[in-house]
Symmetry: C2
Subunit: 145 residues, 2 copies
Amino acid sequence: MKISSRGKYGTRALLDLAQHNNESPVQLKDIAQRQQIPLAYLEHLISPFVNAGIVKSIRGARGGVWLAKPPQEIKLKEVVELLEGSIAPVECVSNPMECPRSEFCATRDVWGELEQAINAVLESTTLKDLVERQRQKEQSKGVMS
Amino acid sequence: MKISSRGKYGTRALLDLAQHNNESPVQLKDIAQRQQIPLAYLEHLISPFVNAGIVKSIRGARGGVWLAKPPQEIKLKEVVELLEGSIAPVECVSNPMECPRSEFCATRDVWGELEQAINAVLESTTLKDLVERQRQKEQSKGVMS
DNA sequence: CAATTGTTGACTAAAATAATCAACTTTCTC
DNA sequence: GAGAAAGTTGATTATTTTAGTCAACAATTG
């Protein structure tokens, strides 16, 4: 039940993009540096978002990437699923055919509830929420020092 | 965010044990057969439960395993954690020292909420609940045929 | 044209997963 | 007490996933 580095890195990358929204394109190398993600790895993490139309990009000098939609319209669920695949904790929840036991399996029910719970969190959180939270954290950091 | 075969198999095994509670010891090979788990693998899945004192065992002819506590006192959280380790979706949620960003990381907050959500489900479900659910499923199966 | 930056695909090392096997210990039954 | 039955343990293995690297390429700017 772990989120992989893909998921962690990728989410951080999109938060970074949301923080630098409505500026000029953000360069991958800057995201990589700020979020401490290997650049060559980050390239592969951004690509699914571009394919899904969540992120736009432009190549060449002064190129970069940016969000195709306002941050409040991008739910964490999309983000995580693009990185990690279905959030269902077991295959048979989304695809009952996969296991002959599905129909009468009590444990499967619980995994289904787990999916619901996870889904509720990820559906209710947008990149905008993340940006705001991050801002609050930065503020209290400032107050402390 | 997947549950491994360990988790799936092990949970099924404990449900099976709960179903056959207050009978004579249940043999691993019977669990293996009913739950469709490779016997040699099941042996390794049961061992953590024995070590944790949730399952008791006796060797030799007519030996077997059984629950050390009534099913309603065994939460799925214990079961899953013994099989898969901490349910925290990222290490830094349970162990902030692990990442220097922890203190001011907004994404970490969300992973924390995810843990809470997962925790709520697994804390509120016991083996007894599973047994009852399974019984209901078996009943409706009977009605249908 | 040269520098910059994203895109893509091939490749690899390391770790986790899902077993399997064999030797061993305990217990029961005859 | 012998032998079969059953759980215990540790070593080993094949496969898959993960995390990352590298290099060639394509597009864009100045």
